[in-house]
């Protein structure tokens, strides 16, 4: 971690996203709840790869597993994998126009869903219909809005921080 840079806006954002994943919603909307934590993680790793890294992804994943009552490590594994991918390509992804960014997010969320489905399959948990894929779709569609919100938080934090480095 570089000195003199604050990480807490990203951490708070990630914790809020984890909370939103278990926020009570009307039954109609539940299958369409976007995977907030994965989206927030992708965003912050892409923008601040020096401050948000694999360790953060692992811990957020464990928190999600505890909140959801999943197998411990299920979200941690899938989030770590997409974090690694985003870290490797963050310089390319960051300058994409919105529609290309949305395609990338779609791919990342799909990889996330695939890993989770695979773990469910190995553990013998029956797959529950189409919900995983509706979540990937809604996450992709909502990405521009969520990105706008997180951009606003990030730019505010960077303005305070004169000696900001990527």
């Amino acid at each position: 971690m570089a000195r003199n840079v604050k990480t807490w806006p990203a951490i708070v954002c990630l914790l809020v996203a984890a909370g939103l994943e278990v926020m009570p919603l009307p039954d109609v909307l539940t299958p369409w709840r976007p995977p907030f934590a994965a989206i927030a993680l992708i965003y912050w790793v892409m923008m601040w790869p020096n401050r948000v890294n694999l360790g953060t992804a692992f811990i957020i994943g464990l928190i999600l597993d505890l909140l959801h009552g999943n197998l411990l490590g299920q979200n941690a594994l899938s989030l770590s994998v997409i974090t690694y991918l985003v870290m490797r390509f963050h310089l390319q992804i960051r300058i994409f126009p919105v529609w290309q960014l949305m395609l990338t997010i779609f791919a990342m969320l799909a990889i996330n869903a695939f890993i989770q489905l695979w773990i469910d399959g190995v553990a013998g948990i029956p797959p529950a219909g189409i919900t995983r894929w509706t979540q990937v779709l809604s996450g992709t569609i909502l990405w521009p809005v969520l990105m706008g919100i997180m951009d606003w938080i990030r730019i505010g934090a960077e303005r305070d921080n004169a000696r900001f480095t990527y």
Binding site: G19, P24, R33, N50, L67, L71, G73, L91, P127, A128
Partner: protein, 304 residues
């Protein structure tokens, strides 16, 4: 690959180790999942960690609690009077039933003694509230606000005022996770109240539907039959209502009937559940005796 990111970043050589770190994390995750799947190695570690996510659960569930508090404190006098009248009437009806119940119970004990079978013990219950969080969207589970500190153990059955709700699958200090009877992974032994036909009710993943896949085509079952727990398998005590048969289809060429049932419990709008603490001779160990001491909210309370 790792090299390129190292060149572009200002961070000290962390790019080179990213792949290695991913592999280490992946191995840790797989080990965690393996031991968690075995379900006994990680219980205490998991309980400790879940204490740390309690603040998130508390915050997330607070709008729901605020909502119910507001609706409680802003009900008008007229509404309260109405509700009071309704409850009074209901209690009168119920106390009429209970009067007979005592006679029936003693009669039952006598008959059982005649038959030389063991007497059925009363179940004790503990009232728990549902914590307003949406758990795993891919499974039908709920979180209740009583845990191992209240002497709940894994496998205890949950009912509400109308029927069976589910069973406890994982307990933490002050909360427990419970699997609903409609989860895809859940099956419970039931019998038809009318003719004691025994079968198994399997969850479908939908809140309003159970399925009975193991009845042959000539089974005596019709729409409207009531299913109650049969007590086989030991998890659910016998005699609690589970569901009502809503549809019976017999597809030609299929050896088994396709039967749908509606759960009696209002699974998607319950606020409180009763945890049944069984008092079978096998489970009357230390834990249940302690529970008998600290249990303050007993279902027998509202008798007066």
């Amino acid at each position: 690959m790792a090299f390129t990111s190292a060149k572009h970043e200002t961070g000290p050589s962390r790019g080179t180790s990213a792949g290695l770190r991913l592999i280490v994390i992946a191995i840790v995750c797989i080990l965690l999942m393996f031991f968690d799947h075995q379900n006994q190695h990680l219980v205490s570690a998991r309980q400790g960690m879940s204490l740390m996510v309690q603040p998130i659960v508390f915050l997330v569930s607070s709008p729901g609690r605020l909502g119910s508090w507001l609706s409680d404190s802003f009900t008008t006098r007229r509404q309260l009077e109405q509700e009071n009248r309704k409850l009074r009437r209901k209690m009168l009806e119920m106390s009429a039933d209970t009067q007979q119940m005592e006679t029936l119970k003693t009669e039952n004990v006598r008959l059982r003694a005649l038959l030389d079978s063991t007497a059925k013990l009363d179940d004790r219950v503990l009232i728990a509230e549902i914590v307003k969080v949406d758990m795993n969207p891919f499974r039908q589970s709920i979180l209740i606000n009583k845990g191992s500190a209240d002497n709940l153990t894994i496998g205890e059955a949950l009912i509400d005022a109308d029927g069976v709700v589910g069973q406890i699958t994982r307990n933490q200090q002050h909360t427990s996770e419970a699997l609903l009877i409609t989860d895809l992974n859940h099956a419970l032994p039931v019998e038809v109240l009318r003719n004691r036909l025994r079968t198994i009710a399997v969850g479908t993943g939908e809140v309003e539907r159970l399925s009975l896949p193991y009845l042959p085509r000539n089974a005596d079952i019709t729409v409207g039959d009531i299913l109650v727990t049969s007590g086989l398998g030991g998890t659910f005590p016998a005699g609690y209502p589970v569901a009502t048969i809503s549809e019976v289809r017999s597809a030609p060429g299929q050896p088994f009937l396709e039967i749908d049932a509606n759960p009696s419990a209002m699974l998607n709008r319950i606020r409180e559940v009763l945890v049944i603490i069984p008092e079978t001779p096998e489970s009357t160990g230390n834990t249940t005796e302690q529970a008998a001491v600290d249990t303050t909210e007993n279902a027998t309370e509202p008798a007066d």
